[in-house]
Symmetry: D2
Subunit: 288 residues, 4 copies
């Protein structure tokens, strides 16, 4: 089971941890319950050479232990934002793994809103909303902590006030210009905080709102321009945010050729194609 | 390419058609746009023996033609409910296929709601909602038409007012009784109309509302009892609906054993497991 | 918790059971291990009125008990085909549920083949193959049993010897004829046995082989004709099989227009599109 | 449409391109056809400030043009490995985009093997294999090129000769030691070449073979140790490979408790759980 590693082939950067820890918490001390529905991932980095080279597990925290720990700590520590819970988990695992130097915790929050009954939100019944909330916390043994938040899986679409014109043309270019098209995308965003004790729930709601509103408020000459406008709107409003990244698939809606059948089609009848798609990504940040 | 079919091995019931026709329509004659985002499937039954036995395609409508037709007819016929559009498509294809005797059209509507900006719904910008709306229309050459509507992919959850007690026990039973558990499911529903000119949009909203409200309004002794209550609430309110079927996975949320770590857990910390799950299905209908 | 059902709204056909029971069995009594990797679903029908109307669970077998039972019975009963195991489970559950009248068991077998090391199959190491094997067993209290087997998720493709010509044309038809196209599909098949003690493993392998070979052995004038040929080949070889059904998406591979760039394209460069697709389905059966 | 960017909020690192270009090529100049079934992604980096700040698209190559280009170049350039095709695409796009400084091309190859008929591989009929082949090529304007290859979605499993013992224990540890467990994972690998004109097809097959064989050839005290052994086997055999990375979910197979039912279970009856799972990742590389 053990052997001496050869001098020439070595272990490089590595990590291990537990994924898909599906933690559900109910705050039920009053009649109005609150819920957290989370998918937690724990990742540890450190000196794990003995396990890799020698099959010596004596310094490895089992991933099953990581799972137990996430549930056990949720009882007292999961009381507010997922960013805050992530910070607590990072603190714990940096201590718990005997040779751990870095811990990353990634949390996806599935979002539930209260069912409305006769216009009133219900005390303990919920329906799932689209769009996931993300948080990633990174920490090391020197006390450094980094917090990143994110949005995933939010589909948005506008039926006009978007175009794609005057782009560069070469011999493989066949796409015509348009100053009126459907613009559709799936928002993936992530952003970095410069502090670790912000009001993360309020900030997340604010980034979502600024992102959606900016999507509506201008003629979009390109996904790129809209991406920059969104990032600028977020950074102008929230000084706690250092920089923000968006990734936008351009889900193409192509006018279907109905002239062949004697029918005109002025941007009304479109094919929402699944493949292929443009993909536009970038950071918007404060000038250093 | 052709051959005589042997007498002993014959073609049985069969059908063909086009799936995943991703039709997107914008109503843009005023500043306030409306959208339909549909996934359409067309299925034809009829006498297709010559194609199967002899490779003779002369009586087959190409599935590519079906696609063209869906887009072409959407221009004038997709102006209200997906049930109404499905009825028009069925009428068309029963005529269009030279040997067609039955046509089924299945429509899935992806749901978009307007983005709110400063509390006002936007004219032409939308965000996708969870939960799909379904319609299936069946017709034959004698003029018979059947309309079925449906709901898919609506996650609901209640954190209390649900139990599972006093069930049958045999030697393989280990589950304890509980009078307080999380009840979580994903609503799939379908229901049949007794008329073909109903206000289908209003009815669909009504079934969704009754289903969600009933989920909240009682102590659930079992998924079965809640299923029956939902169906009864729908049928009592909407005489146009003949019968309704629900399918409910029972997405189990299992209390995590924290006593091992000296922590009590009174239904607060749960594991939302992915596998396996109970599945409860049934029709609720009017007594004949 | 209990109430009298109203006279007018009643429970119709219904069932319940357990899905996604992920059973893995190792036969390890010799050095050469064998594995079964199954996804089992159990579905019961019967008189469950009391549960639905009154919240009375006393005649309901818990779905958790069904899960326990599948694992417990696998020890002695899962020794050969999944069809055989399904028959044993059906026998058990018809007895186990106090008011059960019908039991269906659906089994999906994930397929593993031995890793080859220096040309020899390994004793206990496996790699997953594409293509799922299915079995469904249906039984009732009168002793009737029905066994259906199936194939899912087998992708096949031929690059020539397939066409689509001389089909019916109407005003919405734009597709040109072709006598040389790529034919690609994903095989889903199911077939019914007329006996319950066949050599199901041998038969399943045989149906898979006949299906693949028939795919290669003729010019295909249509998916319909190939479907019929496959079914006939299976029924001619295996008298134990009563009838067989195939479902074939027609995964279109469309020549990309390179003439625009001064390049000819004689069926070499194609776009493998994801949407939409034709869908052809049918039974092939013995003449009654 | 244009505006001056504010001095404080700027564009950071960004890129754009085309994803899910589903290119299928048939080499059909002899009776024995060959196929490439690819999913191509093109990503460009460069000076795209004008588009983001000003809505000026004049220096942007349209992503639709990228798609056209991939198909057009496939005619003459896709004649061997996907790594070679990726290098040609990178060369092209570095020239084609007026302000492009970096191009990345990612190719996923879906794998087809010939259908065997009476023991002979068929000329033009294929069935899909599990396991994807990946290539990523990176290039910049200075002539630097980097080539990475990869494996994805290969499920492997061994039923014995694996354990997990003598690991670190803390107060949240409940997992017992075992010296005989099922080890199951899904291989994701990537590796970097130190040359750009290697026999990439031969090398890919070799890495796959070494990975599978190493999986079988030792008692695995941990996923970590097996990961290192695999990497070492690859690097020892192939000097063209600089370093290799594996990512292994630990798909847990848990013995089902049958003692409750009076049945012993010596590692035979297991639950193949879907959630959560351990995840082990790391590079194995040559000592600098």
């Amino acid at each position: 089971m053990s052997e001496t590693p050869p001098p020439e082939i070595v272990l490089g950067r590595n990590n291990y941890g537990k994924s898909e820890v599906r933690l559900f918490k109910v705050k039920r001390d009053t009649a109005v319950h609150e819920v957290w529905d989370l998918n937690v991932r724990v990742i540890l980095e450190g000196d794990f050479d003995a396990a890799h080279y020698l099959g010596d597990n004596s310094k490895l925290l089992a991933t099953d232990t990581m799972r137990n720990t996430v549930y056990a700590l949720a009882k007292d520590r999961l009381i507010g934002s997922i960013e805050g819970f992530g910070l607590d988990l990072v603190d714990h695992f940096l201590e718990a793994g005997p040779t751990v130097t870095v811990c990353r915790v990634e949390v996806t929050q599935l979002r539930w809103r209260r069912i409305e009954v006769e216009g009133q939100p219900h005390d303990h019944s919920f329906v799932r909303e689209r769009g996931e909330r993300k948080a990633k916390v990174w920490g090391d043994g020197t006390g450094t902590r980094r917090v990143e938040a994110g949005i995933d899986d939010v589909y948005v679409l506008k039926t006009t006030n978007s175009g794609w014109e005057n782009f560069y043309r070469d011999r493989f270019t066949t796409l015509p210009d348009t100053d009126d098209r459907v613009l559709a995308t799936i928002v993936t965003a992530k952003w970095e905080y410069d502090i670790i004790d912000a009001d993360f729930d309020h900030l997340w709601d604010g980034v979502m709102a600024r992102t959606l509103e900016t999507f509506t408020d201008h003629y979009s000459p390109s996904v790129q321009n809209t991406l920059y406008r969104m990032g600028r709107a977020v950074l102008e409003e929230f000084p706690e945010i250092e920089r923000i990244w968006y990734s936008f698939p351009n889900v193409h809606h192509i006018a279907y050729d109905l002239e062949r059948f004697g029918t005109d089609n002025d941007g009304e009848i479109l094919h929402a194609t699944q493949d292929p798609y443009g993909q536009i990504e970038g950071w918007v940040e404060r000038r250093p």
